[in-house]
């Protein structure tokens, strides 16, 4: 059975709401290539929701990523070789604020029962991973409370905020020509 589907902005909001407490969240993605992409996408979303300097994008292994992150919220990928070892290291993985693990389904299935119990019901799959372009556009409209026309108007007036989602939004509308050169802002 697939995990609970969730939109990226809502997942980021839920992680950010837990920012002052220990919490473990698992995000399941389709393939290895999506692991790094999802770590970055989620970290991008979180950067605007948590105070500056409170977020770390980890690189494997997880134990090292947590040690380096100190008191920061961590988003980190975990692969099939590391996943089964994490249960034995669980006491050393205690972290004062949320840890978001991103893994393929095959790696996630290798996580041991102790870490899975820490994660509890917080296993998610991003809607963007399974949704069509129209679904993703609906997510963006819902997340930002704007219509496609309003975003196009913003881009045309060159007041588009420095926000990667607006660039993605324009690309999905086949209006990538409106993305200002040198970035999305």
């Amino acid at each position: 059975m697939d995990p609970t589907l969730i939109a990226l902005p809502l997942l980021a909001a839920r992680v950010a709401a837990r920012a002052s407490q220990p919490s473990w969240i698992l995000v399941v993605v389709h393939d290895d290539a999506a692991v790094g992409r999802t770590v970055n996408d989620l970290a991008d979303e979180l950067e605007v929701l948590v105070p500056e300097g409170d977020l770390a994008r980890g690189t494997a292994p997880v134990e090292d990523a947590l040690r380096l992150a100190g008191q920061k919220l961590v988003v980190v990928g975990v692969d099939e070789s590391e996943a089964p070892t994490l249960d034995l290291a669980r006491s050393r993985l205690q972290h004062p604020v949320p840890v978001v693990l991103v893994a393929t389904a095959s790696a996630a299935a290798l996580l041991g029962p102790h870490l899975r119990s820490w994660i509890g019901g917080s296993i998610f799959q991003l809607e963007a991973e399974v949704s069509s372009t129209e679904d993703r556009l609906a997510d963006l409209r819902r997340a930002y409370g704007k219509t496609d026309a309003e975003v196009i108007a913003l881009a045309e007036s060159r007041t588009t905020p420095l926000e990667p989602h607006f660039a993605e939004w324009l690309v999905l509308l086949n209006r990538g020509d409106l993305i200002p050169s040198g970035g999305s802002g």
């Binding site: 995990p3 029962p113 119990s117 509890g120 019901g121």
Partner: protein
């Protein structure tokens, strides 16, 4: 207090991932199955016994161990008890041979007298070599460095007169084989002047992370050695131990089984409700939400708190002032989907059979894994049940047929 502040306080108090040692003040006395009291009472009667606490993930084993140690400390008795989370000192990925003995030796050496007698000095030296490792200069003729002889002889300029040799601590990573018996007397000699006629008990937590198969071979020699030295031992073991082979369990004088608290039994349900209401600020949850959380937890204490917390998050996102039944329902659904994630066809077949018959025959690793991941729980009447959050999701999706065949 603002709505945000109220929900923040609620979330902090419901955290299931916090250190159990910091949550002892929130403890609620269970109606039965007082594992801590059973364990402490046995040590009071037989201080040098070996006990094992077996239980599923998130069943509250660590809390019970901490309470047992606290009761022994508070009892003003002749027992000195210490709690050691093995995983904080030693990588479980490495061999565990000799680690429990080494940790006891290390703890004893830190508190024994500053001016030991000669016999104690010798005993302490031996323990120190085991627990801390040793570096010394040895003549090349010494048998200890015999293995280095050939390479030393080939060095230009001839053989050095003395060779520096380092033997590492047993703790990372030991390879001591069957030599533990020689540490029984040094342990006795070192401990005796310190404790006199009192007794020592060590509670080792964290070994439940090992697979059942690994646990069976990992601690055997250490338990035998510590028992022989007259030291009481409590070890926390994985849940599958209670249903696997008996050889290792037979090493222990007492086996304490920690079960989930079946929310279908009124007394257990009241206990689970008391845990939630003890932690929740007044008026934070509706009675319907508390009921749904207790039923959905299956009586696993970590799931109980995780559901309460996730329901709080759902209520906050939904704009509710209190945690409502619908918020709890959402949290139970997410937990069920998480428990269902990654289940194999073989596991689904077993779950289906247990849901129909309430019986389980543990044939091997697959059944033990379902117990370890708390998809299955044994009740006090000997029946088995599927975790209710998982059962709800699987039946709701038409993946589990509950009709008796």
């Amino acid at each position: 207090m603002t709505r945000l502040a109220r929900f923040r306080e609620y979330m902090a108090r419901m955290n299931p991932v916090r250190d159990p040692e910091q949550a002892l003040d929130l403890y609620v006395e269970p109606p039965e199955d007082r594992s801590a009291d059973d364990i402490a009472a046995r040590f009071e009667l037989e201080p040098a016994c070996a006990q094992v606490l077996v239980g599923g993930v998130g069943s509250g084993k660590t809390t019970e161990v901490l309470r047992a140690v606290k009761r022994l400390e508070d009892a003003n008795s002749d027992i000195l008890a210490a709690y050691i989370d093995v995983t904080k000192f030693h990588k479980l990925e490495e061999s565990l041979d000799g680690v429990l003995v080494s940790l006891v030796a290390r703890a004893v050496l830190r508190v024994t007298s500053a001016k030991p007698e000669q016999a104690e000095q010798s005993a302490m030296k031996k323990l120190r070599e085991l627990s801390e490792g040793v570096t010394e200069w040895i003549h090349p003729g010494d048998s200890f460095v015999a293995s280095f002889q050939r390479s030393l002889e080939s060095l230009p300029g001839g053989q050095p007169r003395m060779t520096k040799v380092t033997r590492p601590s047993a703790i990372v990573p030991p390879s001591l084989g069957s030599r533990f018996a020689e540490y029984v007397q040094p342990l006795k000699t070192t401990i005796e002047p310190f404790i006199g006629s009192d007794h020592l008990v060590f509670a080792f937590d964290g070994l439940d992370r090992l697979s059942t198969a690994h646990f069976q071979t990992a601690v055997r020699d250490d338990i035998v050695t510590l028992k022989a030295a007259g030291i009481g031992v409590l070890v926390v073991a994985p849940g599958g131990m209670a249903f696997g082979e008996r050889t290792t369990l037979d090493l222990f004088d007492k086996v304490v089984l920690r079960r989930a608290f079946d929310p279908r039994v009124p007394a257990m349900r009241s206990f689970l409700e008391a845990i939630v209401t003890r932690r929740a600020p007044a008026g934070a949850l509706t009675s319907g939400a508390i009921d749904r959380i207790c039923r959905g937890s299956g009586g696993f204490l970590r799931d109980l708190l995780a559901l309460a917390k996730d329901a709080g998050e759902a209520a906050y996102v939904a704009g509710h002032e209190m945690v409502e039944e619908a918020d709890a329902e959402k949290a139970v659904g997410e937990l069920g989907r998480s428990l269902a994630f990654g289940l194999s066809d073989q596991e689904m077949t077993i779950l289906s059979a247990v849901a129909k018959t309430k019986r389980l025959v543990v044939r091997g690793e697959v059944e033990l894994a379902l117990i370890d991941k708390r998809a299955l729980a044994t009740q006090r009447d000997g029946t088995w049940s599927v975790h209710p959050a998982l059962l709800g999701v699987l039946t709701g999706a038409g993946l589990l047929d509950l009709k008796a065949s």
